[in-house]
Amino acid sequence: MQILSDFSDHIPPMLVKELRQGLRAKAFVIQFLLFQSLMLIFLLSASSGADAEGAGTFISGVIFFIFGITAIFLQPMRGTTALSAEITGNTMEMIVLTRLNSTRIVLGKWFSIVSQTALVLVTIIPYMILRYFFGGMNIVGEMVMLLMIFFTSAVLSALMVGLSARANRFMRLVPIAIIVLLATSIPRIIFGGGGISSFASFFSMQDPAAYGVLAAYVLLGGYFAWCALNQGIAAIAPTAENHSTIPRLVALVMFALAVIFSFTSWATPLSSPIFLCLIGGPAILVALTEPSLLLPPICAPFLKRGVPGRIASVFLYPGWPAGVFFTALLIFIGVVTVVLSITAPQPEDQSVVFLSLLGSLLLPALLATFFTKIETKRFSVFILFLLATGLITILAATFLNIWHEEKILWALIWNPSIFLPLIEEYGSESEKILNAVIIVDAVILAGLLIRAGQAFRSYQPIIAEAELSLNAPHE
């Protein structure tokens, strides 16, 4: 019993458990030892060379490469089954019955992986000190870069942990693909072109633009991590808990920041819509794919607030029906912002790209309203339609390259992603294409709103029951 020290009482229980398990896990032990061995081998081999500065640059490259692979690829991958293992292993329900809520469970899992990455980061310090003595080191730049890799690792770990609640292995492949894609670019960034020295000099914080880039990176990364973790929280939370309203409010706040940015002098005709899309995109994706499982305890807080509460509920109730109205709200704010903030004429091809991407999210959501049999599978159904429509576009674009037949693409304009190859190939007809994409998006959105309105009607008995419980004397 002595081993249970009281110090750990100050650490969240989930983190204690995950660290106990994680630090003993073969995956971590092997990776850690391999990391240290490789660092030592490369350091010794580099130090035996004649050119000290060249060796220093080489050591920096090696440090960044090995840490990059560890932090951006190996560590986030450990989150692949973080929540699904608990669900399929029948241990999640045991945890849910304790005082740990779903937020603490997911954050504990995520923070455990981040802590282990931090441990790896700390072990780099001796190598960095040694590397310093070889000379030619941009201390600030390289430190900022290490911290950025660490931050990226934390964001990607959040993505993996958040989506690991999806029981479907296929669905978990999506974040894995993103991570693999990022990992393959690491050697190119470090050893190709200007190498890490060009990045290090940019991040040495001499250039004011570096602050802006860093701030935007941290803000957006933090937002993506929050969105991903919240997906995991919502997936494991009891149905009677609402994990949709606050994320939507946060998305609205972030969207408001993007709107404010659009009216500043830093905004450009391109950066403003990009920011709006980067913030609105994940929020729309989540809102359109939420299962529609409404229970009276969720309605009660809205009903208590009278008419304002009822109006807010249309946009903020959990589930895709309110998600559709929330999406429409974001689209409205986004369009108004772009129209009012950008005084210079917006290139039509850019508008087509943004509207095409927006439509690419809306169409699978509309199809999912017809073909989802089990609500908890809505996200999977959505992703399947997203991939299918994407595949249709790729095939159509390939045929277009072979046969140069414009009609093929026009026949497929019900699929908004088709406008991407269309605008690329027939940029001269941009006005016609822009009008078409606006009409297609509007039709799909109208369809979604009708379906959402129908789904809202089925909420009436639940809302009535919630009203009854509000009016009933307390137990």
């Binding site: 019993m1 081993i3 249970l4 009281d6 750990s8 009482d9 229980p13 989930m14 204690v16 458990k17 106990r20 398990q21 003993r24 896990a25 399929t88 292993g89 029948n90 241990t91 329900e93 045991m94 945890i95 849910v96 019955l97 304790t98 005082r99 740990l100 009891p238 149905t239 009677a240 299962p291 529609s292 499982l293 409404l294 229970l295 009276p296 305890p297 049999k373 089990i374 609500e375 908890t376 089925s458 909420y459 009436q460 008995p461 639940i462 029951e465 419980s469 137990e475």
Partner: protein, 334 residues
């Protein structure tokens, strides 16, 4: 106030009516067995009580607290032990209990003390340093029971805790449940092994197709009548056993069921003990030399089958379920 109160509970999974208007109450400090075939609705009802699922319609309360409106409060009162639960890699038995004790809010000395008490009760101290995923089924069940008892719950809900256990582990588990019952805990336990439940439980709840078909104590079930209201008697005579069967042929309300070495089993078409006494008197009057005449106790399996038979033959009145409610479940089922 009852420890568990379920009122008109329904749980539909699409077209499947898993729980279909279940109503029952279990008083504090009692042990209640929950009996039913696979898919009868036992686990769903128990999961709703454990706040792990929600009802389509109806109410469920634990110690007067609504499970749907106040799940957190209910969780403090219950210990839940499912039929199957997984363990963790790279985690010892002690660390497993330590994690749950922390998760339940225990700190420092109090936590260590509570873990020690639970390990002592479930005899897990010799296994403290064993990895929890390397335990046998019996040890795992003891670990599960230990976990469920960490916060000293008032009500224990155990879903098939004896499933897959060897006889020794089953005896150990039964002993632990008896001790807990003596401590005054309310225990709601499901099992397929009716004889075991009969020994442990103050009352038994039979569920079939999502409906409660019987609620009563095991002794009354053993004494109870069969599907058609008859009662079995064992009759032993001194002399020719055939005489009993011959005698029965001539009687209106008595049926010979089965020949035995010195007599046979007879079925009397009534539960009235005075009528049974009349039958005995007639036997003696007609010259049968009776050496033994006693009412046979049915085993619980027979009782269960009889009750199901009664339900199927329409003798047992069961409320018709309401039309499928629209409470999200029509198309929104997990």
């Amino acid at each position: 106030m009852s420890a568990l109160k379920v009122n008109n509970l329904y749980r539909y999974f699409g077209p499947l009516q898993a729980v279909n208007g279940v109503t029952f109450e279990i008083p504090h400090g009692s042990v209640c067995g929950f009996v039913g075939a696979n898919g009868a609705g036992k686990t769903t009802t128990m999961r709703i009580l454990a706040t792990l699922d929600y009802p389509t319609l109806g109410h469920a309360e634990v110690c007067g607290i609504n499970v749907m409106h106040h799940p957190s409060e209910v969780r403090r009162l219950i210990g839940w032990m499912p039929d199957h639960f997984g363990n963790y890699d790279n985690m010892t038995v002690l660390e497993y209990l330590d994690f749950y004790a922390r998760a339940l809010g225990y700190k420092g000395k109090e936590r260590r003390q509570r873990i020690e008490e639970v390990m002592e009760f479930t005899d897990l101290i010799p296994l403290a340093e064993r990895f929890s995923n390397k335990l046998s089924k019996g040890m795992t069940q003891r670990l599960g029971l230990g976990r469920a008892l960490l916060h000293d719950p008032q009500v224990l809900i155990m879903d098939e805790p004896a499933a897959g256990l060897d006889p020794k582990a089953r005896v150990e588990l039964k002993h632990l449940i008896r001790v807990l019952a003596k401590e005054g805990k309310t225990i709601f336990i499901s099992s397929h092994i009716l004889s075991e439940l009969g020994e442990m439980c103050d009352s038994l709840l039979f569920i079939n197709n999502g409906r409660i078909v019987h609620h009563g104590d095991s002794e009354s079930l053993k004494r109870g009548s069969d599907t058609y209201g008859g009662v079995l008697y064992d009759v032993q005579v001194d002399g020719d056993a055939q005489a009993v069967s011959d005698w029965c042929i001539l009687q209106a309300n008595v049926e010979f069921m089965e020949a035995r070495k010195h007599g046979g089993r007879i079925r009397i078409d009534t539960q009235d003990p005075t009528k049974a006494a009349d039958v005995l008197a007639r036997m003696v009057k007609d010259g049968l030399r009776i050496v033994e005449y006693h009412r046979e106790q049915r085993n619980l399996e027979d009782a269960f089958i009889d009750i199901l038979g009664r339900v199927n033959s329409g003798q047992e009145a069961i409320a018709t379920p309401p039309p499928l409610p629209t409470v999200a479940d029509q198309n929104l089922l997990s």
